[in-house]
């Protein structure tokens, strides 16, 4: 007998089909249209949103508990793991360990050991389960190497995920140049480090015809470059995390190491530019950049603390806040959280259309709660949003039509 799940009375949010009241049928792990079989398990979803599960591109660590709490069904981890994802064994192992609850689509290293000098075995890593190649947290300083990476990746039609920060300008910096950094006496780099790197990578992508994904764009000048490149037809996409949409560099005041991020938080003008880029479609996906760091890495003087924020569990409520504020529609929001990431990784999922995998989440969009770093599910609670009241919780989650215990 077939396994069937019938989700009724839901408010469906589909990036492809829009928002409507209705029901969803998942048979043998796949979304189907038509009548529900009599034996189908019925779940009444009244008063809740039913949306495609979140696909989180560019996480630093695999963190099941945080993913489950955040409604994340698939993640694409960065290549800077231990060991570095530059050989098929490491890629394959990572690609399989999450199943069946959490599917992992590794971003393999674009250069061997992420050293930025020699090409890594991209094709072999792709056959081992990688869905993209990337530069990790670093930047490839040598333009010749980056040119060859993009040419080679184009031949394989694989997207190159980059961290856009000019390594020379950003060297040693833990903050963006400005009043806050000067006041705190923190080594800082001009925000220009980002558009400089983006400009080069865009020109190389345009020249080679390769697909380029800028993992996290955070500056007004960076968004302007991406916007213009898209008009020219460059195959570029970009992502952002909620931190750069909701916080600026004054969040670092009092040496709050939870606000020590990479790239560093920017000015208020850049934050507004990020919101504008979200509204006008320049930004293609929202991600958490999930990077749990325990107290031994965060309870340090600011510059000595590790960069990164653990926001997989807060991504959805923060994103819902953006929709509530009218920055984006709910439909577009799940385009940014599910459909966009799926397209980037070449996955047939990310919408509620018939034929898609039954990866769906049920959301109580009004449920109020307060982000508490000490109680956040996952490996660590280092979020710059500690203490923020938010709304929206995942109440149920299905991966391939199978319920994932919370």
């Amino acid at each position: 007998m077939t396994q069937a799940l019938h989700l009724t009375n839901a408010r469906l949010v589909c990036p492809a089909g829009g928002e409507r009241d209705g029901e969803l049928l998942i048979v043998d792990g796949t979304i189907v249209s038509g009548e529900a079989p009599s034996h189908a398990e019925r779940v009444d979803c009244r008063g809740k949103l039913l949306a495609p599960g979140i696909i989180d591109v560019g996480v630093a660590r695999i963190d099941r508990a945080a993913a489950r709490a955040g409604g994340v069904v698939r993640v694409a981890p960065m290549p800077d793991q231990v060991p570095v994802l530059d050989e098929p064994g490491a890629v394959q192992r990572l690609a399989l360990i999450g199943r069946p609850d959490l599917w992992i689509h590794p971003i393999a290293a674009a250069t061997r050991g992420l050293a930025g000098t020699d090409l890594a075995e991209m094709a072999i890593c792709l056959s081992a389960g990688a869905r993209a190649v990337g530069t990790g947290r670093g930047w490839i300083a040598d333009s010749g190497v980056m040119h060859r990476v993009l040419m080679y990746a184009r031949d394989l039609d694989v997207v190159v995920v980059t961290h856009a920060e000019d390594g020379g300008l950003a060297a040693g910096a833990v903050a963006t140049e400005g009043e806050t950094a000067t006041r705190l006496g923190l080594p800082s780099a001009p925000a220009l480090a980002e558009p400089l790197a983006i400009a080069r990578d865009l020109m190389l992508a345009e020249e080679t015809g390769a697909r380029l994904h800028l993992r996290c764009v955070t500056t007004a000048a960076g968004f302007a470059l991406v916007r213009a490149a898209k008009v020219r037809g460059v195959r570029v996409t970009c992502g952002v995390t909620p931190a750069y949409l909701l916080l600026s560099d004054n969040a670092m005041s009092d040496f709050r190491t939870f606000a020590h991020l990479s790239p560093p938080l920017r000015s208020e003008d850049d934050r507004k530019a990020a919101l504008a880029a979200l509204a006008d479609g320049t930004i293609d996906l929202l991600c958490s950049g999930h990077d749990p760091r325990g107290p031994e890495e965060k309870r340090l003087p600011f510059a000595d603390a590790s960069a990164g924020a653990a926001d997989a569990a807060t991504l959805l409520p923060l994103a819902l806040g953006l929709a509530r504020d009218g920055r984006v529609t709910l439909t577009r929001l799940f385009g940014l959280l599910a459909q966009g990431p799926a397209a980037l990784l070449g996955l047939e999922t990310g919408t509620l259309a018939a034929g898609m995998p039954g990866d769906v989440i049920l959301i109580d969009e009004h449920a109020p709660w307060q982000i508490d770093a000490d109680r956040l599910p996952g490996k660590a609670g280092n979020t710059p949003f500690d203490g923020l009241p938010v709304q929206g919780r995942v109440t149920a989650m299905w991966k391939g039509g199978r319920a994932i215990a919370g």
Partner: protein, 329 residues
Amino acid sequence: MNQSDHRPATLIPGGAVFPHRHLTGIEGLEPHEITFLLDEAETWVEANRTRAAPDQRLAGFTQINAFFENSTRTLLSFEIAGKRLGADVVNMHAAQSSVKKGETLIDTAMTLNAMRADVIVIRHMSSGAVRLIADKVDCPVLNAGDGRHEHPTQALLDALTIRRRLGGVANKRVVICGDLLHSRVARSNILALTALAAEVRVCAPSTLMPPAIERFGVTAFTDFDKAIEGADVVMMLRLQTERMAGGYVPSTREYHLRYGLTLERLNDRAPGALVMHPGPMNRGVEIDSAVADHVEQSAITEQVQMGVAVRMACLDVLTRRARKVEGWA
């Protein structure tokens, strides 16, 4: 003497005049709180000079000087200040090699706390380290310099020196010249002097100028001759040896050409100006010996003298609550 630039602190009763538990920086201090510390220090200047009966107000108190970064002058100054108040002073030299970054910083703080220190003086190479420790201990913490962030007692002693020499700080034109980018002395001085209503000018090559410095209420110059025009005080900062070799400035002789305080420059542009330097000096680089040793205009040794008085005042004020001084308990 005692000419305050702001309302007299004596009008505010007891502990309300200085409600802070720690001294981690000048930032957060109100102008009248700065003035209060300067007034307190002033009394110690006289006491130090006459060497009357030794003061014992900190007798039985343990002062730990935890220096995670090498220092001779500041450490000595804090040690003498504590001893002149009768405290048991213990110096902890946490060499940079033994304390790897911050891994043990919180643990060190816990250890110092467990030893029941009554006041802890900290110097650390990372900005914000002192505040981090201050949050973890039960006793008052004094910042003796953290990274490029702040060095509050230096700013207080500089303000005191200016006040005593020139009769006040308000409306005086003070020029701070040198490596402002990496200088905690510059940050604390800018905050203190602007709070006391001085006209502060900063001067450095752009490679050594902190970004957005004009947001601190100062005027920035890259031309030293223009900057010191009509100055009442010229404060020179030390240029670290490792930054002279081409990274930030091409060479020491080129730096001296553009930013060195020579007697000729001083007499031409700011005749009679008070010359200050937090030390240690690079003679012949940022300051010429003829200026540094100028009998009338150089206040450099006086700064050192004020340093002890200011630190005595800070140690006294911060321990008043623990000592249950009337009005402070």
